[in-house]
């Protein structure tokens, strides 16, 4: 599962699983910080959004009146950090009355079996 690059740098497949809604708790925010660091270490980082985790990608979030720092813009910047593997669980999305058009970034919507298979291919899974 671990890819060896020419310069012998070890690249591990690390999947972050986001299952919490934003703002109510800090988990998804601090998860995003971890993702950015791991991407800076040139690891093969992916994210899977499941259950309430899909709410973190909702468009039009505005936390200004909460006086909590919003982090939605960071999602749109993930591409710049080469974090391009964003998987969304189709059932979680549908259960919440959302579609891909409601999301702030481009994602791959997959069924749970496909995401389960990807989980099996990881070196490490980081739950959030």
């Amino acid at each position: 599962m671990t890819e060896e690059y020419e310069d012998d740098e070890v690249v591990k497949k690390i999947m972050h699983i986001i299952r919490r809604a934003p703002h109510g708790t800090i988990y998804s925010y601090e998860a995003l910080e971890t993702v950015l660091i791991m991407a800076a270490y040139d690891q093969d980082v992916s994210m899977a959004f499941i259950d309430d985790g899909v709410y973190t990608l909702k468009k039009d979030q505005d936390t200004s009146e909460l006086e909590i720092k919003g982090y939605m813009k960071t999602f749109t910047a993930l591409d710049d950090y080469d974090v391009e593997k964003l998987y969304v669980d189709r059932q979680s999305l549908e259960e919440r009355g959302l579609t891909e058009d409601d999301l702030i970034v481009e994602v791959e919507v997959l069924d749970s079996a496909a995401i389960g298979k990807l989980m099996g291919e990881q070196d490490t899974i980081i739950p959030n």
Partner: protein
Amino acid sequence: MKIGVQIKDGPYNHQAADTAYQFIKAARKKGHEVFAVFLYHDGVYNITKYSEPPNDDRHIANRWSELGAEGVTIYACIAAAKRRGITNSKDGEQHIMPNTEITGLGQLTDMAIVADRLVTFGD
């Protein structure tokens, strides 16, 4: 095998710190190398020096300090720690348990790279 552990919730508040500790004890007993513990979110409270549980309760901060002395590196995330007032040293005084460290998220990345298993405990 090389095992890294991550704890994402606070001691006493959640069982995570207890389950992680029992897991680490058993893994070491079985001859595995638990090389590091990374404390994130409220997990950083695990290493405050000022924890004073009642005498008949377990002392979680001491457990981590003892494991630290035995070669299991105990790290708390600096960003999470700073937000919560957990600081290494200020005014020349040490504010976290002996044999524990405050470090960056890069350390968790290194753990993920080096470990055969990274096991997370939390809420």
